[in-house]
Symmetry: C2
Subunit: 661 residues, 2 copies
């Protein structure tokens, strides 16, 4: 246990130091959110002073306690704390540069901008849902490596907004179901939202709600250090996840504005800051921390440092040290590449006809057998997404050693938990649902992309090709909407070989999340000549060269590559020389050099084919081009009727090509 | 009260008729979901037989009870019922054509495909959240027109999936907060999800959760007609919304498969259907309904017809008949157009510098003063979205006569509730949040578009122009991702005049929802010459003609039109003749004739300017073009620094133009 003997005498001044830095930084920036940091300063002071085990000199120490500021607008809370703890990259210059270009102190905490920020927060509810993934990963690592090496807590500060967002329910249910007793949520129960009193928009008894999902719930005065400490202690000891309702006054210390939404999202103003300094007995000038506070905060870091050194000794002595360190390292891309190459050779020889979702399952058999720390899952579509490979066992409160997660019908909670598992370290996470339901988890996918967390979204049933389920289940705009998102690789493989190549890239990606868009319907193997090269890594490539100088280039993705190949046959029969380009990943293709791109695309007219809206195809097509795809929403019918009805056929592609020439 | 004296003798056979049609239709289609309709058949039979007041001969009767199949995969339940009730468009030919091209019986219930389908469902949780909006609209209309004219119930069948989705919590909290006592949710508590037992993924006590949000909760055996009826009766009488946990056996009646996930989403197979027929004592051939069942179902329709006729008499006698009927009619576009035109004349003369969010508030003052049934709201960003106009009063359980909704921090629940309010009829709904948070409500926006429900999303803080809040709050891909969605008009007005024109279109749209993307920052009035024409209606137009033959066309939207205008000045100073096109709505521009489009775009090289990713611009730009915008996520800094940092400046636009010429 990372228990620490602590001094508790200085918590009032530790808290006021948070308040002072918050007021000063927000005032200097002339924008920001003072209310939450000032309201929760006492809670944060007690939490860090008595409980948190972190070492600012080793910010990535694996067994550190995790702190997640789910109410991310209160970013000055964590910046102030990390400054005073002595994080090397959080000098006072950063506090002074709050919300300025190039500073590490962005308006909301941004993962990767500064040490000690465990996750990007700000979009409400994401922090608590990501923390569930972190707390689960802790238990999963604990099951694998034991309490000597893995034994930490995950603390969350969440506001009313976090708890009003629906994702909080998905997270609460998962945490309760998984029995994540080391997850402790400190709810800033200040009864204020931006529009005014919480009574404007909610009547929910939050404590009863969390209790209904198997949480311990506690209520305290968030300005009483004894109550705060007792509650956190009780939370640490209870086997259930804990919600501590901390009754606070928003903007505590600002005598004329505290307790009102006026303190939430705007500077307090010079006069009110002066009044607050007086009320708090704070005599230091702006951006100065009195020695007593500085010493007290530094003591927290010192104790954490000692805890870490003890842990390092345990690690050094542990027979599992190598395995533990290995699990934290990047997945072995070379090893996976070899295994996938060998597997591709078999595929090319056998040339099976398979849905790419089935091909994904087969590729995953290789991935999961090669990489030791893969954690799979699905939002209750395991048999459709085909995400569970042989030998995988479910993760549950009784079996944290498992490696497959039944997320339930909770796409948003799943995506956020995947982010948390990945951010925690030790695992590579993937999870599945239908492509159309990327809409349900889009805010969490965006955070994967923004943070550069390389999780993999296994999104099956990727077009009208899913058939009878109809327009509500048929993605038409989702490929475009995902391609629009920065730092996200969307793979839409055309056959089993491309699917394997996509998995080789996704499972070993360093800083970019991946979406695999996979077919429900069977598709032929088109890559029948084996090559050890991962051609998907180029984003697009010439799948079939024209017989002589190209008259036209047909470009397609996924299930429509088969259609383009058939169209090329039709055109050849008429003496028209068509090349076929498979373009499984637009993002990787855009990253190739201009010469490669020009060679692939050629100078002949182009026809794009994708059972989706055209948006996003412009960089591949250009002016002298046509597009065969969807103009609007789909319909409910068997697949063959749908492709016919919407005119996505080899004949239509050939006609479009003839039209252009 | 729409109370009815009913016969209860035939409910077993009424329920078995649902089961038989479900089995037969799913088997014939060789796809579909028999489990839910068979499990909930008894509940549905009792609900319709004893309680529902609907008239299949007048499907849009305003005071009908609403029935929402939130578990939309069980679509055969509603198709079977509507067939037997005698809806004119739901003949047995439709049941036989379940899930076939062109039938009204899509895989999931599609609003507008057939009468008696109140809302498109299938994406889980949407139905219950939309129903909250319907039930609220009922109370709001009741407050305006009295119980003689408006006095109906909203019934929902929801499954475990609906309750696991986070949106269900947002919906539950809103319904409890608003005291929607006429909302009755029948939860198909069958303890089965696709992956298997619900114990795989949830431990939540759903009844305790709903009770925590102020609901009455009841538990019954979902196959016991007396318990079903008693519970619905109790739900109708209680002032709180009610959740009735109906313990059922999924696939009830299929002797070898019932109670398992095998019945959920696949045909039962001929042998199991034969066994089920035997077990249920069902001797009729496939697609035949015995007279006893047919008569019993028809009696429901007859009673509903009588209830409606009585209501029609009350309406005819009511002094509020005209107002009531008027509220249900389409909003008066001509009248609003005149009012907006008059307002535009003032704007053009005064030429204020305003954020378009502020301009939106001013336009809304005109809209809300002109159209009597506007219902506004915000997801807790009222003071930022500027969605509440003078004289608007909050809707609450004590004040259903209000017209402004504090949705709390629940973008998803807001969007679904807006859909429900609009589907109910009698109101035109709009609601606001930040543009970046369209991600949180995207599944509900998609349903607005798919159903053609003309709600308006007021999405402010529409680019890096929001400044210091940083990347989590700065949309860069959202304009593209929304433009990718079919049947959605995205308006990004450049000044107060365009904002007014956008509102004139959005507030009176017939079958297309609108998103208004509005700036946080101040923008000049560029349309200083008044014209009564609504130029935004053309989607894009020549804002400034070149001085002579065009050398280049600068195309911009929203806040970047000002930049394009300045770039045109810079170019003019260098002797280059630039035209400036404002393109506030790509969708409306695409709908113009080719001649208009060609005239606006011209033949000169083009430069696009938008503080967002380029995707979606191709149709406006073409090969000989450049784009000045964002390449990735934003940053946290003051606005001027951000535009400079990301190179979205008049100088950069002018340079790009010079480069092209």
């Amino acid at each position: 246990m990372n228990q620490m003997r602590v001094s508790t005498a200085h918590e009032a001044i530790m808290a006021n130091a948070i308040r002072a830095l918050t007021m000063d930084a927000v005032q200097a920036a002339n924008s920001g959110h003072p209310g939450m940091p000032m309201g929760m300063a006492d809670v944060a002071a007690v939490l860090f002073n008595r409980f948190m085990a972190i070492d600012p000199s080793a910010p990535r120490w694996a067994d550190r306690d995790r702190f997640v500021l789910s109410a991310g607008h209160g970013s000055m809370l964590i910046y102030a704390i990390n400054h005073m703890l002595g994080y090397a990259d959080m000098g006072m210059d950063q506090i002074r540069a709050f919300r300025q270009m190039g500073s590490r102190t962005a308006g909301h905490p941004e993962y990767g901008h500064a040490d000690g920020i465990e996750v990007t927060t700000g979009p409400l509810g994401q922090g608590i849902a990501t923390a569930v993934g972190m707390a689960l990963a802790e238990r999963m690592q604990n099951a694998r490596f034991g309490g000597d090496l893995v034994d930490h807590f995950t603390y969350v500060i969440a506001g009313d907004g976090c708890l009003m967002e629906g994702i909080s329910q998905e997270a609460a249910d998962l945490a309760g179901h998984w029995g994540l007793g080391r997850l402790i949520v400190l709810w800033d129960d200040n009864k204020i939202t931006i529009d005014g009193s919480t009574t404007l928009s909610t009547s929910t008894d939050q404590k009863a709600r969390f209790a209904a999902s198997g949480w311990q719930v506690l209520s305290i005065d968030g300005h009483n250090t004894v109550e705060i400490a007792d509650a956190i202690e009780a939370a640490r000891e209870d086997p259930r996840p804990s919600l501590i309702a901390c009754r606070t006054i928003i903007g505590f210390g600002a005598p004329n504005k505290q307790g009102t939404s006026a303190t939430h999202g705007a500077p307090l103003g010079e006069a009110e800051i002066a009044a607050a300094r007086k009320a708090l007995g704070w005599t230091s000038p702006p951006f100065e921390i009195p020695e007593e506070a500085a010493t007290a905060w530094r003591a927290v870091a010192k104790r954490g440092h000692a805890v870490r050194l003890a842990w390092e000794e345990r690690l050094a002595a542990s027979p599992r040290a190598g395995a533990f360190t290995g699990a934290l390292a990047a997945p072995d891309a070379a090893r996976l590449g070899d295994a996938i190459s060998e597997y591709k050779a078999r595929l090319s020889a056998e040339a099976p006809r398979l849905a790419t979702r089935k091909a994904s399952e087969m590729a995953l058999e290789v991935v999961n057998a090669t990489l030791p720390n893969m954690i799979g899952g699905s939002a209750d579509l395991t048999g459709s997404n085909l995400t569970r490979t042989k030998g995988m066992t479910p993760v549950s409160r009784d079996s944290y050693g498992g490696d497959y997660i039944h997320y339930g019908i909770r796409e948003h909670g799943m995506a956020a938990a995947m982010n948390g598992v990945a951010l925690h370290g030790g695992f590579v996470a993937y999870g599945g649902t239908f492509l159309v339901f990327t809409d349900y988890c889009r805010p969490a996918i965006r955070l994967s992309a923004l943070m550069g967390v390389p999780v993999t979204y296994v999104m099956t049933h990727d077009s009208i090709g899913l058939g009878e389920d109809g327009p509500t289940h048929q993605p038409v705009e989702h490929l475009a909407s995902l391609r629009a998102m920065p730092n996200l690789n969307l793979f839409r493989p055309c056959d089993a070989v491309e699917t394997a190549e996509a998995w080789a890239l996704a499972a070993t990606s360093a800083g970019t999340p991946s979406v695999l868009a996979l077919s429900r319907q069977g598709l032929p193997t088109l890559r029948t000549t084996h090559s050890s090269e991962n051609r998907v890594a180029r984003g697009a490539y010439l799948l079939r060269e024209a017989d002589g100088t190209r008259d036209v280039t047909l470009i397609a993705t996924g299930s429509e590559v088969e259609i383009a190949m058939k169209a090329a046959d039709l055109l050849a029969a008429g003496g028209i020389r068509a090349a076929v380009v498979s373009a499984p990943c637009f993002e990787l293709f855009a990253a190739q050099d201009a010469g490669y791109r020009a060679a692939v695309l050629g100078t002949a007219p182009r026809v794009g084919v994708e059972a989706a809206v055209e948006q996003g195809w412009d960089k591949l097509l250009g002016d002298n081009s046509a597009f065969v795809g969807m103009q609007g929403f789909g319909a409910s019918a068997p697949i063959a009727a749908l492709y016919q009805h919407f005119g996505i056929t080899a004949e239509a592609v050939a006609a479009a090509a003839r039209n252009l020439i």
